[in-house]
Structure formats: structure tokens, C-alpha cells
Subunit: 476 residues, 2 copies
């Protein structure tokens, strides 16, 4: 499967069938190709001819130069079969059909879709789509969809999304979430290439560390399961599947024509394959963020350090609900904290240091304790106290310690911080986290992420261990 | 209970025992009193005397003028009993003890705490605390804790929080969440006044429309349940309770000395009282936002309008999981949408209009349909399409319609919008929502909020109906 998927992500030359000089899909794609330096390697096709972005437009597929690796089709649905056959005659092997109006609109569309597959088979072409927005590869700045430029910054997260709109929105959202993509594919009605094909490629992709899948329904469940199993052993795979309930199933049917099947079967299959299933969109995003920066967890005992007893209690509740445990502290750890702590402080887990000012000493003690398998930091401080520090010119690292040092002390263990409070405070804590400590928004999200890292650890111990600290190979 | 709680929220004159000229709690309170115009009505007490913020400091409680309505105590724990007895002798009836170091640190602290209660009973004083940050009343700009000024803008959300740190952080966070408080009380170890006392007051408070409670454990479960029952019939009450699991219970014990009790008993009791229990912090905040702007829902049938089939499917799944239903559309509604829609569009619920441009027409049709009891709007658009519109100088209201008109069409029904996509897009949609349509971040949050509005509707139909459109009485 490698060579053909390579033509989608790393073509030498490309074509757009349905390029347009008026706003719409066929207009935005040449624009992003120009921005990213791909217009020189592109041929634009439109029966009207003329020029688009200073480039001459050819009138038909027959006029394409030889050796085009990838064609993107965005003509109206009625013309797609004809265009596809012409592409086949030209010997083009990789085709993205972005046009909608096939199986997702019912029986008539289903028939048209089957026709496409027949044409592809006849000419030995491989298809992505229809009803999608194709691919993004941040490594070579190739995108078959118009995007925010910030979404094209190279990162380590691969995304396989069934839906074009959803995939696009996710890409728009990534920069703000502090996430950067490696490669993205939107599959749409996936009449030919599917998740399994792309999983197989992405698990070998040196730019990709974590794989995210949004799935409505698999065409071939057994095939998907096999691919997930192989991928899940080598890299963290997070899957969000809709059509989990009777109402959702009905909705996916009219969206991408997917039969999303019995949810329990999927649940068991995902668990068996060792991939992590996200309950919803925000959990999917949190898990991605945590998996990109934190190692899998070897056991289930968590150490919590906080300045808020309430949030410590919420975190304890959340960990319990996720099947995690609170770690005991070593006697030496307790002694170190007691020596520094005021009389009112209880040295427990969660350790609530309140406004005592002993956070750095406590953190040092807790992070050198061998007992915990992972840590949760909930360093919230009301504005009143933060203001006092500001007046005294006390910087946040003086209050919370040097988290790079903590990170070193807890090498090999995940650390997740919870950001809560005023905007200014949250930015300061986020700075402390840097790239090596994961930040989420609630204790519940932190608990879910740690539990997922534990499941990841259990899974990886059956195969190759993945570690986010492994450097990616240089783009070649 | 009214008159005494009135002394806490609307005192004529106040005193701070433990005022300080060096940074710390005793420093920040005079500062905020000065900002809010309360310093003129305040007496500051510190054995050292001198001046703080240009105001003369008296050396002892004995030197306080007569007629102080509320005293705030922030002296070290060891001095609290003595100070409290002196306040009793001065005839002061309302006292907030912010000092920590009582039952939450164990047996010794418990003994000291019992001593405080004895003194209070002896002099007929009523106490808030210890181990808290007291109260906030945005109506008269009174706060016994230093806060961001934006947190003091008057609103309609009352908060009863057991923990001072947590209450403070919640206040810091509110402005960014688009929430404004009416009154806040942090109860700490609540040796005297508790949730029930404040609930009774807040349910009568004309500034308060929605009541939020963060609870670790009730001293008197039966009393709390009674108060919740009375309150829940008149105003939406949202409760977040930690100590839900064995791990969390252990944590609350060492935090505020609370015995948080069997969670199932609380669950049943809350349901019986008709209050809405939030599963976690972010749900609590979302529910508050939705309850402040949306009416209770009369039935469980939801209409969904979206531009993303995937998000529509996720929303359908989420509604199913919350026990809600998808509404059928009236034949007339279907016809109106079909007349405007391109051939590929499926007129179902969720209605996914994709990039067709018929959102305003579809919305008009759906919102005049009598079938749905409430609506979810998921108007996501990839940046590519948004850019195209921007180039054509098409404004978002042209694309999504006039939501004030929609709001009128669906009068009496809740409408919740989901904000997803690029930052710019989310701001545009938030503008469309204005104050009359609630905005949340995921389809799952929207589903939870609508389900809560349904439960609220069922509850309110047993008693007085509350409607967020009822204007609050003028502050007097």
C-alpha cells in the first residue's frame, strides 16, 4: 500500500479538475497551492480555459501533461464519471474526488458511486472520496483544501477523518489547541481507500507520533480491526466513533452513507486492538495533546499536588471513576514535606499545600518519590494571592518551582497539569508546562488522560514501546 | 434567617480584625474595600495600630465603634477564640472567620473549632467559616476577598462554595466564561451557617436567577435536602458534589473536615429535590450559562440544524445518551427546506445543510415548526469557506440568518449553539448568539444542557415556573 499512498501525500506533480476563477472550492485550492509553492507543479483544468492566478488553465483532462501523480476532482457530481474515465485513460493512478452528491444522498447517489468504483477498477486507479476534502501533508506543505496557514505548520499528529467538513474544522482548530498535524486525510464516502490503508502508511510515517481517527462506520470491520491492531502496537491511536446510538446511527447513514453497526462490537474490537476510544470531541483533543507529550504509564498509582483541597477531592473522585489509584508517599517524602510545611497542612495524597508557599519543596519531594506512576498538578491560586505576589515582584516559578527540573525527576512518568483560574494565571502555568508537561482544563480531563496513558502502557508492553521523547526522523 | 444573612451581604458598617500593611490576606481586603468605596464604612483592627491605605487602624476589638454589622476575622488561628469573644462582647452579630487551621487539620483543630461555636452561641453570634474567604455581593460591591474587578460586575448567578480557594478561582474565571455573579458565599468548615441558610436567602434574592452549589459534605443532610427542595421549585439550582467516590471522600475529609457520605444517597436526594447535579466542573459551568439564558424545556424532542454531518451524528449520539429524542419535522417544514435545497441535501433531523448556503431558510423553517421542544445549532464552517465569503464581503449573518428573529420564532423554547472551528469563526457565531442563545463548546455539552433544561421543566411544572426572561427586580 505504501507506494500508492505516497502518491497522495508526496506527489511530484498534481492536477485540479474543476479549477475556478470565481469563489468556491475550485478557487481556494489553486490559491493555497500558490502560497505553498505547489502551483508550479500543478496543472489546472477547466473547460473555459483562460488563466487562474497567472497560470494558464487547460480545457480538458486530455490536455494534461504526462506523469501527473495525483489528480483532485471538484467538478459537479454529474460530470465525475466522465472525468474519472479520462483520468484513467491518461494513466493517472491517484485520484481525490472531493465532489459530494453520491451515496450520502440515497439510492440514486449510491448507484453513481458504484459506477465510479467500476471505472477506477477498470483503469487500476485508487480513489480517496468522494464527498471529502482530500489530504494535507505539512511536511511538504501540500493541501487539497484551503486552510489557515497556521494549520500547515509541521507537527506529529496524523488525522484520519471520515468527514471533510469535520476534518477541515479540526484543522482550523488545531493551532489554538496547541496541536500541529503531520498528515491528514479525509475519506468521505471511502468507496476505495479507507482507514486501514492510511493507518498502514501512517504507522510507518516518521513524522507521525500519534494517530487520531474520526470514524462513522467501517466498510469492512475485520480489515479495520486488523489495521488498528497493527497500528496500536506501534503508535498511540485515538478513535472517536459516532453512530454509537440508534439516533447517531441514523444520522451517519444520511451523512456519509455509513452503516455504523453495533456499538458494543466496536467497543470490544477497539479495546482488543489496544486503541484508545475517546468518548467525545473534547476528550479526543485532550488525549491527543497528552499522548503527544507524555510517555505511557507503567502502573495506576497517581500522585496529586494541589493548592486547592476541593480540586484535589474532585481529582480523586475522577481518578477513582477511571479505575486509577492514589499512590502512597514514601516515609521520607512525608518527612521532607512536614519539615517545610506549616502546622495546618495535612500530608496526604492529594497533597493540598494551600497558600503555604511550600509548593516547590513539596513538588521536589513528591517527584523524587518512587511510588507514583504518574502525577497530576493542580496549582490554582486565587487572583488575590497572585496579585500579592505580583506586588512583591515574586515570579510564578518561585511559587511553583522549576518544572523542567520536576520533569527530569519524574523521567519516564507522565505529568499532567490542570489549568484553572484567571487567564493570566493560566498563561503563567502553561509557560511552566512548556512542551514537556501536558496541560488540560479540568481534573476530570487529567484523570481520563492518565487512565488512557495507563491503558497505552499496558498495550505497548505487548509490543514495541513508543515514547514521545524519541526524536522524529528528519523529513527527507 | 433573612435578617442575619442580610447583615452578611448588606451590612451598614464593617470591621476587619487582622488588617495588615504587608502583603497577605489582611492586606488585600482593605485594598478592595477602598476600590469599592467600603473603606469609609470600615474599621481596621491590628494591635500595631498605625494607618493602612490612609485610614487609622484601631488596636483592638474593644476600640471598635458601636453598630458594626459585620466583622471579618483573619488573625492567626490561635487568636481566633479570644477575638471572637471580644466581638461577642461588642454585640456584633455577624462574623466571617477566614482563618484556616481548624477541623480540616485533624482532632486538635476540631477541638478549637468546637470552642468557636461555643463562644458564638454564648453571645448569639452567627458565623461563616472558618477556613473560607467569606462573601461577595456584586449589588453593593462588597467583597471580603480580593478579586479581579471584572468579577465584581453585577450578574444573576449566586454561588455557594464550601471551599474558599475554589470559590475564589471560580470568581476569577467567571468573566471569561461570560458569567456574572449576584452573590457568593464560601462556607469553609461551616460550623454554624450553612448551605441551607444561604439557599433560603438566595431563593428570595431578586438579583439571583440561578444558584450554583459546590458541596463536599453536608453537616445535616435532611436540612440541606429540605432547603434544596424549597429552592429547586423556585429557581434552577445546580450542585457539584465532590467526595463522590472512596478516594474523593478521603480527600474531602482532610480538606474541610467533611464527612461526604454515601454518594448514592445524595444522588437520590438531589433528584428528589429537583436540583440538577453536575458531573464535573465544566458541566457545572455550562449548565449555569445555559440556565441563565434559556427557558426550561417542556418536552424532550430536539431539532438540530448543522453544516456538518459528523457533528450532527455526534449530537444525535449525545442526545440519545441523555435520554432525549430527535423531533420529526412537520411536512410543511420539509417542503420549505426542499424548495430551497440542492438535490444532494437530505431533509432529516439532524438537518445537515453542508455548504449549500440555505442555512437561513432552513433555520426559518425549522424554528417555526411546532414539533421540537428545543433546538441545537451547529453552524461550523471550515476556514476555506469562511475565507471565500470574506472575499465576497458576505457577512456571517447573511450566511446563518438573523438569530434574534430565530429566537423570537422559538419563543419559550431553549436554543443552544455549539462553537467550533477557528477563533474568528467562533467569535462571529458568539455575536450571533448575543444574550439570548446559549453557546457551548461541544455537541455533548449542548446535549447535557438541553437534557438538564428538560429536567428543570419537569421540576418547575410541579411548582412555580421560572423563566430567565423575567426581569430581575431593580437593586434597592
Amino acid at each position: 500500500m505504501g507506494p500508492i499512498i505516497e502518491k497522495f501525500f508526496r506527489p511530484r506533480s498534481i492536477a485540479l479538475i474543476g479549477a475556478s476563477s470565481s469563489p468556491g472550492f475550485g478557487y481556494g485550492i489553486p490559491q493555497i497551492w500558490e502560497k505553498c509553492g505547489w502551483l508550479d507543479r500543478a496543472t489546472l483544468v477547466n473547460p473555459k480555459g483562460g488563466t487562474i492566478r497567472g497560470k494558464e488553465v487547460v480545457r480538458g483532462v486530455a490536455d494534461l501533461p504526462d506523469g501527473i501523480d495525483l489528480a483532485v476532482v471538484i467538478v459537479p457530481a454529474v460530470h465525475v464519471p466522465e472525468v474519472l474515465a479520462e483520468l484513467g485513460k491518461k494513466g493517472i493512478q491517484a485520484v481525490i474526488i472531493e465532489t459530494a452528491g453520491f451515496a450520502e444522498i440515497g439510492e440514486e447517489g449510491k448507484g453513481k458511486q458504484d459506477e465510479l468504483l467500476g471505472i477506477a477498477r477498470q483503469y487500476g486507479m485508487r480513489l480517496v472520496g468522494p464527498n471529502c476534502v482530500g489530504i494535507v501533508n505539512t511536511e511538504n506543505c501540500l493541501s487539497t483544501v484551503e486552510l489557515l496557514e497556521t494549520s500547515l505548520e509541521p507537527g506529529s499528529l496524523a488525522i484520519i477523518a471520515q468527514s471533510g467538513v469535520f476534518g477541515g474544522i479540526l484543522l482550523d482548530y488545531l493551532p489554538e489547541l496547541g496541536l500541529k498535524a503531520s498528515k491528514v486525510v479525509t475519506l468521505g464516502n471511502k468507496i476505495d481507500l479507507d482507514e486501514a490503508d492510511f493507518l498502514e502508511y501512517l504507522v510507518e510515517d516518521p513524522q507521525t507520533r500519534v494517530i487520531l481517527i474520526y470514524e462513522e462506520g467501517a466498510r469492512d470491520g475485520r480489515r479495520l480491526l486488523g489495521a488498528l491492531q497493527r497500528a496500536g502496537r506501534r503508535k498511540p491511536v485515538i478513535i472517536l466513533k459516532s453512530g454509537r446510538t440508534p439516533l447517531g446511527r441514523q444520522a451517519t447513514l444520511s451523512h456519509t452513507g455509513s452503516l455504523s453497526g453495533e456499538d458494543k462490537i466496536y467497543d470490544a474490537a477497539f479495546r482488543q486492538a489496544g486503541v484508545v476510544r475517546a468518548a467525545d470531541l473534547s476528550e479526543m483533543i485532550d488525549l491527543a495533546r497528552v499522548f503527544l507529550s507524555q510517555p505511557p504509564m507503567k502502573g495506576k498509582r497517581i500522585g496529586i499536588l494541589t493548592t486547592s483541597g476541593s480540586l484535589g477531592a474532585m481529582a480523586a473522585d475522577a481518578l477513582y471513576n477511571e479505575g486509577m489509584e492514589l499512590s502512597p508517599w514514601a516515609p521520607d517524602t512525608i518527612q521532607k514535606v512536614r519539615n517545610a510545611a506549616p502546622g495546618w497542612m495535612n500530608v496526604k495524597n492529594p497533597l493540598d499545600v494551600g497558600p503555604s508557599g511550600v509548593f516547590p519543596i513539596a513538588a521536589e519531594a513528591l517527584f523524587s518519590d518512587p511510588n507514583p506512576d504518574g502525577y497530576m498538578l493542580i496549582p490554582v491560586v486565587p487572583h488575590a494571592i497572585y496579585e500579592t505576589w505580583s506586588r512583591l515582584r515574586i515570579e510564578v516559578p518561585q511559587i511553583l518551582g522549576d518544572w523542567r527540573v520536576l520533569r527530569e525527576q519524574a523521567a519516564g512518568k507522565p505529568v499532567v497539569a490542570v489549568l484553572l483560574g484567571s487567564k493570566e494565571w493560566r498563561s503563567r502555568v502553561l509557560e511552566l508546562c512548556g512542551n514537556s508537561i501536558a496541560a488540560v482544563n479540568t481534573p476530570e480531563e487529567a484523570a481520563k488522560a492518565l487512565a488512557a496513558l495507563y491503558r497505552l502502557g499496558k498495550n505497548s508492553s505487548n509490543g514495541k514501546t513508543f515514547n514521545p521523547k524519541d526524536p522524529p526522523r528528519d523529513p527527507s
